[in-house]
Every structure is written in structure tokens, then in C-alpha cells.
């Protein structure tokens, strides 16, 4: 084997073992570039802002990661979160105790994840089709429920994650960021250190082989969709912390943005490879690009161009890693 070939193999090997290296590099490069080219980017308040801005889509992307690891996809996640914000906000406005509204809202989001999971596992419909349908249905139900209007939130508990903050080493930290980090650590732990996590990866790599080795494929898949639903409910709580206003027209592209974060994070759309830390980095890359390009005075539309180029590059790297695996 020539030296050149073995070096290429080791690059593929590296990408396979640590798919989060790509987004980590992209993040470091972006932060350095924007710190050098703008006066306002490198500033503790702005770092805090960038973290806050990545919270809602980032949280949605955590649930999306679980589903994509099983070789599925979820187009309905943003719509589930929006419906949950409307339910929680309207119940509190109608006099329900905020704790109850929050818990029932989380339960509804979990149940909607379960409906998707049930359709995927029992009728064996492709997740793309099921969630495309769910997206359409839930978006319409939200508009009908809210009568096309937004609902202001005056509850301290519902906006708690964004309004309460403390200082951590000079950076303003909201409770939403803290919760986000706890979720990342928890999901990382269960994905990498528990049998359930191994099963999720196995199902994404090869469902038939997983079944033959005794994994309850359907039960595990259903649990993935249920947990993802709960995560979307928490994203709804994060959203009310960001803007204390439940709007049926909000987060219309959050489903695609969450997929963008997952893909940038090095998780393979073909399932079985990737992880939670990559998704965190992917969400941060998008947030840093938006913040940095705005402060550099560049048109919004070019921000979308930049994100699109990165997505294609990330999937191309994934392909490269896969091809060298064979």
C-alpha cells in the first residue's frame, strides 16, 4: 500500500471515529474569522447571545438526532413544539396553574412523537412520509386552535428558561442554556453508555441484523420517537423563554434547520453514525454564522447560501467516510 493511500484511509477512519471533528473545526474557524473581521463579535455578551439563539433549534435537533441515528427523519418536530407553546400559553391564559400547563404540554408533545413512532413501527410507513403528513396536520391544527392569532405569555414559569439568568465566569447564562447542556449530557450518556443507546445505533446501521441479534426493533424505535417528542416539548418551553409569545406562524422552517444542525454535526442521514455532541456543534456553527454575518453587515440571504454550502460539504464528507469503509 502506498503512503498516499494509507493517509487517505486514515482520514476516512478519523471521520468515522470522530464525526464531530468537522463541525468543531468549522466552529473554531468561524469564531476566529468573525472575531478578526468585526469589532463586535468577540465579546462575552455576544457569546451568551449566540448560545441563546441556538437553543430552540438546537433542542429540536437533539430529538432529531435520535431519530436520524435510526435512519429516520422528522419533519414534524417544529410543528409539535409550536402546538405545545400554544397549548401551554392558552391554558395559562385561561387560568390553569402554570406547572400543570407545562406538564400537560410536555405530555402532549410526547404523545405526538408517539403517534409518529406508532405509524412508523406498526404500519411500517417511511418516517419521511409520516412526518410530512404530521407536519401538515399539526401546523393546520395549531392555526385552527389559535384562530390565527398569537397568545402572549405572562407566566413566570413558562418564560423562566429565558428570563432568569446568572453569571458564569463573566458570561450571562440563562436557565435554558443550563437545561440544554443537561439534556446534551443526559442523551450522550444514554446513547453511548447504555444498552438502549447501542440498540439505537444498531437499528440505524442494520435493522434486520439488529432483529436477528435479539433487539426489540419496534419497541426501541417507538421509544426513540416518544423521547424525541418529549424533547420537542422542552424545545417549546425554551421557545417561550426566548420570546414570551406563542405564535402559530413561528418556527416554520425549524424542522429543516434542525436537520441542518444534525447533518453539520456529522451525524449520517443513513443512520447508525454520529452523536449528540456533533449536533450541539452543528447548531452552534449555524448560530455563529448568522450572528457573525449579520454583524459583518452581510445580507440575510447570503447567510442561507453559506449554511447551504456547509450542509452539502458535510454530507459529502460523510459519503467519503462511508466509501472508504467498504
Amino acid at each position: 500500500m502506498t503512503a498516499a493511500l494509507s493517509r487517505r484511509t486514515s482520514l476516512g477512519e478519523l471521520l468515522r471515529r470522530a464525526p464531530a471533528i468537522g463541525p468543531a473545526l468549522a466552529l473554531v474557524v468561524a469564531v476566529i474569522v468573525f472575531s478578526l473581521t468585526t469589532k463586535t463579535f468577540f465579546d462575552l455578551d455576544n457569546m451568551s447571545l449566540v448560545l441563546e439563539q441556538s437553543l430552540v433549534v438546537g433542542t429540536l435537533a437533539l430529538g432529531q438526532t435520535l431519530i436520524i441515528l435510526t435512519a429516520g427523519i422528522d419533519l414534524a418536530n417544529g410543528s409539535i413544539a409550536v402546538l405545545a407553546t400554544l397549548l401551554m400559553a392558552s391554558w395559562v391564559a385561561a387560568g390553569m396553574p402554570a406547572v400543570l400547563a407545562l406538564l400537560v404540554g410536555l405530555a402532549v408533545a410526547t404523545a405526538l412523537g408517539g403517534v409518529t413512532g406508532g405509524l412508523v413501527t406498526s404500519i411500517r410507513l417511511p418516517p419521511f412520509i409520516v412526518t410530512l403528513g404530521m407536519f401538515s396536520i399539526i401546523t393546520a391544527l395549531s392555526l385552527i386552535y389559535a384562530g390565527g392569532q398569537s397568545i402572549q405569555v405572562h407566566s413566570g414559569l413558562l418564560s423562566y428558561l429565558g428570563t432568569r439568568r446568572y453569571l458564569f465566569g463573566g458570561i450571562e447564562v440563562t436557565y435554558g442554556m443550563t437545561l440544554g447542556l443537561i439534556m446534551v449530557l443526559f442523551l450522550w450518556y444514554v446513547l453511548t453508555r447504555t444498552a438502549w443507546g447501542k440498540h439505537v445505533y444498531a437499528i440505524g446501521s442494520d435493522p434486520e441484523a439488529s432483529r436477528l441479534s435479539g433487539i426489540h426493533v419496534r419497541r426501541t424505535l417507538l421509544s426513540v420517537y416518544l423521547i424525541a417528542g418529549l424533547v420537542y416539548g422542552i424545545a417549546a418551553w425554551q421557545a417561550l423563554g426566548r420570546v414570551p409569545n406563542a405564535d402559530p406562524n413561528a418556527y416554520q422552517n425549524a424542522n429543516l434547520e434542525s436537520i441542518t444542525a444534525v447533518v453539520l454535526g456529522g451525524t449520517s442521514l443513513f443512520g447508525g453514525r454520529g452523536g449528540i455532541w456533533g449536533t450541539l456543534l452543528g447548531a452552534l456553527v449555524v448560530s455563529v454564522l448568522r450572528s457573525g454575518l449579520t454583524q459583518a453587515g452581510i445580507d440575510d440571504l447570503y447567510q442561507d447560501v453559506a449554511t447551504g454550502v456547509l450542509v452539502i460539504a458535510a454530507v459529502a464528507l460523510d459519503r467519503l467516510a462511508r466509501r472508504q469503509q467498504r
Binding site: 463586535t40 455578551d45 447571545l49 384562530g147 390565527g148 392569532q149 398569537s150 420570546v243 449579520t294
Partner: protein
């Protein structure tokens, strides 16, 4: 809005093309503690928007009259079907400046008037 304020916090007026984006902008301004320095104006005259003017979040919004637009549109369709006459030219269905802080020389209505004019599935709560 957050990123724009990070680039330059010395803003005194924010105008939004519709009220939902104005509410997002207001949330960003408020969390940066600039609500008292910035005057906000918007366009729509929706239920929430007029209430936001009444509550002081927006200084002003401009109300349009979609019901009137619909009525004139249907009338034009009926006239075309009956006589073949096509509508032509510019049809002004009107607009009204809604504010509780009127300025001399600018015709405006207060929010009490605005709340009465609201069209919506759920009326004023």
C-alpha cells in the same frame, strides 16, 4: 434584531413591516434593556398589534381593512360576471394610523377606536 443591536445598540427607532416580527424585535430590545430608548412602529392593525399599542410596546401601528378589501373584491367579481366590466386603476381601501400619542398634523385614531374596528375570529379578550 439581537444581532443588529450587538452591532450597534444606538438605535432610537424600529419599524417592522408586520406586527409578529415587531413583537420579536421588541423581545430583543427589552432583553437588552433598551425598551425605554427605542420607539417602535409597525404595520397591520391586527388584534394583538392594537393591544400592543394600547400597552405601550408599539408607539404606533397602521391599520388596514381586509374586510373592505374582500367586499370590494367580491363586488368587482360580481360586476364583471354581470356586465363584463373589469375594474381599473388604484382602489384605495384606506388605512388608519393607530396611536395613543398623536402628533399635530398627522391624522390618527386612538386604540379605543382601533379595538372597536378589529376583525378577528376571536374578538377582544
Amino acid at each position: 434584531m439581537e444581532n443588529l443591536l450587538q452591532r450597534n445598540p444606538n438605535v432610537n427607532v424600529v419599524y417592522s413591516m408586520n406586527e409578529p416580527s415587531g413583537r420579536g424585535a421588541y423581545a430583543a430590545i427589552k432583553s437588552r434593556g433598551l425598551a425605554s430608548n427605542i420607539t417602535m412602529g409597525s404595520i397591520d392593525g391586527g388584534c394583538e398589534g392594537v393591544r400592543d399599542v394600547a400597552a405601550g410596546q408599539f408607539a404606533v401601528t397602521v391599520m388596514q381593512f381586509p374586510r373592505k378589501m374582500a367586499i370590494e373584491g367580491v363586488d368587482a367579481g360580481v360586476a364583471y360576471a354581470a356586465t363584463g366590466a373589469k375594474p381599473s386603476g388604484f382602489h384605495n381601501t384606506g388605512s388608519a394610523v393607530i396611536t395613543d400619542r398623536p402628533l399635530a398634523g398627522i391624522e390618527s385614531q386612538n386604540t379605543t377606536w382601533g379595538l372597536k374596528k378589529l376583525l378577528g375570529i376571536r374578538s377582544v379578550q
